[in-house]
Amino acid sequence: MASMSNYDSNINKVNESPVDRVFMMGNTVFLLVITVIVLLPLIFIVSASFSSAEAVIAGRVTLWPVDFSLLGYETIFEHKKVWNGFANSLFYTFFGTIFNVVMTIIAAYPLSRQDLVGRRVITIAFIFTMLFSGGLIPTYMVVRDLGLLNTRAAMILPTGIGVFNLLITITFFRTTIPPELIEAARIDGANDFRTFGSIILPLARPIIAVLALFYAVNTHWNTYFQALIYLKDQELFPLQLVLREILIQNTIDASMLIDIEDLVAREGLRELLKYSLIVVASVPVMIIYPFVQRHFVKGMMIGSVK
């Protein structure tokens, strides 16, 4: 990142013309406006989640909690369905990501080897699926015929390999592992399995980190559609499906959670619960993302090197 503005620091700042100074001021204002636009909805949601049900229903919350209260969070805590969804999502994300990363790495390494006969054909076979697919129903039929409907495996096996991720991994191997290194290993008597295990995998650590993040966040934690079509059993639902029921289909009955007779208060709690739920559902990713965003950026950059 530091290298990006090198040329600016080299240029004498005293030389900045009035036109440039006005431009830079405008630029700063523009970025501040963008930042505020991005932040505003987030602050509103968090503030509402820490307010009282009465303040929420009366529409008194804007950008600061009103009548600070943790009732929304306490209510979620007692909601078994949410925790079950949380546990399921953790399960799918953990095992799904392992499956995705392993499959991607063992596909990418052979496909990165220039001396592999058929490399081109297989790579194109993968890329083609990016451009054209059998479609929703035929894919559903395959999953059905394999007996995977309504099983945990249906959340993991069909995700397999993301072609974009495969391509960045191939690029990574091609650009970071010199063929001479593989040749040297061969001369030293290592076979391909050995080379893969003791030379390639240790060197692949950075790309494994990037892949794990891409798959965990984009393929598993944040998606709901796969679960919607393949799962029937409520017990198997990932968090996103539970959230869909509560946030979008409005199928939560707050009275079942806490005894409240007053209709208005009950509706207030229902709305409050939604705000708290939005926060709780996003917190895991929001906590880790500042630490991992540079890996995402790195992945995007590898991907942009064609």
Binding site: D8, R60, G134, G135, P138, F196, L247, P290, M300
Partner: protein, 321 residues
């Protein structure tokens, strides 16, 4: 994508020789093929088997007969879609939503990247980046949930603001006229920061000497953006534009589906949601009809991508392949 010298095709002995060498090369790398076995098996089962199954678009599929046993009906399923009253609105909704998203969503990350690239203060630059990336990591369900809450006619942010100035906030989410704007601009809100990453990466590779020379020549910042930064971004922008134009029929299906309600279905029904409903939600599941619509979308999408890529190559010499 990958260049390779052409193998010679000479006389007979040469052919035999190269066949032998080919076989040797395959044998020497047998362990690499072992590694590839599972991924290729996966590719065949989960990606190519569905393509084979897509033939039910030309049959009247019934579970009792299976894929091969169901009777052929030619193009009947496609013709049924063309004649259906749903055809026109579904196609129009898909195209309007896609192009609106493209027109709004394409330039904004570029502008953001150009603007961020001018910032010298690291703290400020990093903070803006960090904040604008954040929404990308929020799930679609939560984003749509947030929209419902933020725009809620009684407890939402817009309602509170409207009430404070003595007005009544409209029910945005129930208003079909607002649907497209909400869909597109919430998408821009969520993805502009993340979309800027790739352009920032490209800008960091622009030769500093160009800027230094421009400064010596008396160019101001705006001129340097216009004549150095923007031309530098053009190839990347072109490739991304080609790719997104090839995907205009896809739309962000997961989000559209969540935002649908009986009130806005007139503008919110797109090809993908219709395929899903016909195939897996309606009382009489029609696998063949649904597959036909999906297949049509896939083929048109592929042709579109090829055409746009061709046009881009002829016009700007930048293309995906």
């Amino acid at each position: 994508m990958f260049s390779k010298s052409k193998r010679h095709t000479g006389g007979r002995s040469r052919v035999e020789e190269s066949t032998l060498r080919l076989w040797q090369r395959i044998r020497r790398n047998w362990q690499l093929y072992v590694l590839l076995f599972l991924p290729v098996l996966w590719l065949i089962v989960f990606r190519y088997a569905p393509m084979y199954g897509a033939q039910i678009a030309f049959r009247q599929y019934s579970p009792a007969f299976g894929i091969e046993g169901s009777p052929w009906v030619g193009l009947a399923n496609f013709i049924r879609f063309f004649n259906s009253p749903k055809f026109e609105p579904v196609i129009i909704n898909t195209l309007v939503l896609s192009f609106y998203s493209l027109i709004a969503g394409f330039p904004i990350p570029i502008i953001l990247a150009l603007s961020l690239n001018q910032v010298k203060t690291h703290m400020f630059r990093n903070s803006v980046q960090m904040i604008t990336y954040a929404p990308h990591f929020i799930s679609t369900v939560v984003i749509v949930g947030m929209l419902f809450q933020f725009l809620h006619p009684r407890v939402g942010f817009t309602a509170v603001i409207a009430q404070s100035i003595g007005m009544q906030a409209p029910n945005w989410m129930g208003d079909p006229r607002a649907f497209r704007h909400i869909f597109v601009w919430s998408g821009v809100w969520q993805e502009m920061g993340f979309g800027a990453i790739i352009y920032l990466a490209v800008l960091s590779t622009v030769d500093p000497a160009l800027h230094e020379a421009a400064v010596v020549d008396g160019a101001n910042r705006l001129q340097r953006i216009r004549y150095i930064d923007i031309p530098g971004l053009l190839p990347t922008a072109m490739v991304l534009l080609v790719l997104s134009t090839g995907r205009v029929l896809e739309v962000a299906f997961e989000k559209v589906y969540l935002m649908q309600s009986p009130l806005n279905l007139g503008v919110a029904e797109v090809i993908n949601t219709y395929v899903y409903k016909v195939g897996l939600l309606s009382p009489i599941l029609d696998f063949s009809y649904s597959t036909a619509i999906g297949l049509l979308k896939g083929i048109v999408g592929l042709l579109l991508l090829i055409a746009v890529n061709h046009a881009a190559r002829r016009l700007t010499e930048n293309s995906v392949w």
